[in-house]
Amino acid sequence: MPRFLELKVADCKRLNADYFELWLEAPSLAPLCKPGMFFELKAQTAAQERKLFKPISVAGVLNDRISFIIKAIGPGTRALAEVQPGETLFALGPLGNDFPLVEGKNVLLVSGGVGWPPLGFLSDLLKERNKITHIHGGAGASDIFPCDRAYTVDGSAGEKGLVTQDLPQILTDQNIDIIYSCGPLPMIGAVQKIAPKIPHFASLEAYMACGLGACHGCVVPVGESYLRVCADGPVFNAADIRWEEI
């Protein structure tokens, strides 16, 4: 059951020009967090007062603390980037479902940009009992996080190109049993197209208002209907998504 709290900021540090890492003190919530779940966060500034919360995936949990890795791209995330340790912010969560866990598998993680954090968290949980290959892509060097193979559109880090470009090769070389992905819809769609038969769980992004399943604003075409990313996801079976509508 999600909670709505003012959480204390334990730390907020810049990782590079675009990203920062936020740590929140949340003894009652930290144990509930699983990879795929997210929070609706909001800074307590006058300018953000009437604004929507920002959905941000849990990037990790350490004792009483929850971490988030956030790209400052607009007013909401920029306001979050400026919170100071000791201050509080508004948090609604944990929200959404989580990735199903596996054992003894060859696991491929595919992430793009801000899709990295939930897969980084997932990787921590899976790595002892599975063989993991994590490929990650982004627009430029600042979008790159720890992984086995990195790709950038501008070639400023890792290989130049899209994260999906070597996918067929990797699937056979690593004999992949299951795929977990998180990133822009077109990326997830490309993965699904290349590997339609491999079990594939994708965490989706969508513009959100309520975060609680009330507004039906955050839907994606799944199965016979439009499902809510916040309440029915964010993790979906990639095969169920109606890719022809995307």
């Binding site: 059951m1 999600p2 909670r3 709505f4 909001k42 007062e49 009437r50 604004k51 929507l52 919360f53 609604l92 969508a206 513009y207 959100m208 208002a209 309520c210 609680l212 399943g213 009330a214 507004c215 039906h216 604003g217 955050c218 839907v219 994606v220 075409p221 209907s225 439009y226 309440a231 509508e245």
Partner: protein
């Protein structure tokens, strides 16, 4: 003494705070107690299930929210089988069912079916949908259509009959008069304004439908002006909504003539908006030693 008690037509409400159709869900009761609210309004249901519009469906503007949900709902049957039993079990507060139709006959058919169900305190009639019998012009746009619809529905039910009016009309007072004369026992106003947004980088609309419903903070002055206009035109109780966030906002609407208010978009910037509104209103009325009912419609002109 409950200073917050109010009534909306035939309904006695323990709190003047209700929720805007389509914006709220029982999930919020994980965050606060339902008795903060005076009533619970469902999202609008239609005869047939509706898949709703494709994404993107929402976009936040400087001072409000655009949505083009497209009335996604499980249809009347789905509502009766899945939603209604759950709501009946869960709710201790009056349940108001919002519905819409594409013809007067369809509105009547939905009402007749709902009349057979227990646990429904009232109906909120959403007349913002296109009327298939009138070239798709919204039901709520024409006084004679609203009058006919109100007559048809009022004659079939003794439950509270709330007509929810759209602000996208030339003269909302005429619509309010028509609904009242037809038998609406209260009026909810306002539904969303028209709104749109475009990504200046790409020239693409931000939502799958260019023209959306516009809600939130930006609407408050519009809603208040129309609440005043309607209160001047009819004596029918008013359920006011549109951009309300705080107890001070709510007071403005009570002074302008509203008997109750609803929160919608406010929940998305503050899930506890209703709780804070309730507390603030209670404290204010206690400090002033007033009951809410003493303020309703008591707005006056400013001193120069």
């Amino acid at each position: 003494m409950n200073r917050l008690a109010t009534s909306l037509g035939k309904l006695s409400l323990q709190s003047p705070i209700t929720v805007a159709s389509g914006t709220f869900d029982t999930g919020y009761f994980d965050l606060f107690e339902q008795n903060i609210l005076g009533a619970y309004t469902t999202k609008t249901i239609t005869m047939q299930p509706k898949a709703g519009n494709p994404p993107p469906r929402i976009f936040e503007t400087e001072a409000g929210l655009l949505n083009t949900i497209g009335l996604q709902n499980p249809g009347l049957k789905g509502f009766l089988s899945e939603e209604l039993p759950r709501l009946r079990d869960l709710l201790d507060i009056p349940l108001i069912v919002s519905f819409s139709g594409s013809s007067v006959a369809e509105f009547e058919a939905i009402l007749e079916t709902l009349e057979k169900e227990e646990g429904i305190a009232g109906y909120e009639i959403n007349v913002s949908c296109p009327n298939v019998e009138k070239e798709g012009i919204a039901f709520g746009a024409e006084p004679d259509v609203v009058f006919a619809l109100a007559c048809a529905l009022a004659s079939k039910s003794s439950r509270e009959l709330i007509f929810k009016l759209s602000p996208n009309v030339t003269d909302i007072a005429q619509i309010a008069i028509a609904a009242t004369e037809g038998g609406a026992s209260s009026l909810a106003l306002i539904n969303t304004l028209y709104g749109a947004a475009i990504d200046w980088k790409t020239g693409r609309f931000r939502t799958s439908n260019p023209v959306c419903g516009y809600s939130g903070t930006a609407l408050k002055p519009v809603a208040l002006a129309l609440c005043h206009k309607v209160a001047q035109a009819v004596k029918t109780p008013i359920l006011a909504l549109g951009g309300i966030h705080t107890w001070q906002d709510a007071l403005e609407f009570f002074y302008a003539g509203a008997s109750a208010i609803a929160l919608g978009t406010a929940f998305y910037s503050d899930p506890l908006a209703a709780v804070k509104l309730h507390q603030g209103l209670k404290d204010h009325l206690e400090e002033k030693e007033l009951a809410l009912s003493e303020l309703i419609g008591k707005a006056s002109l400013p001193l120069p």
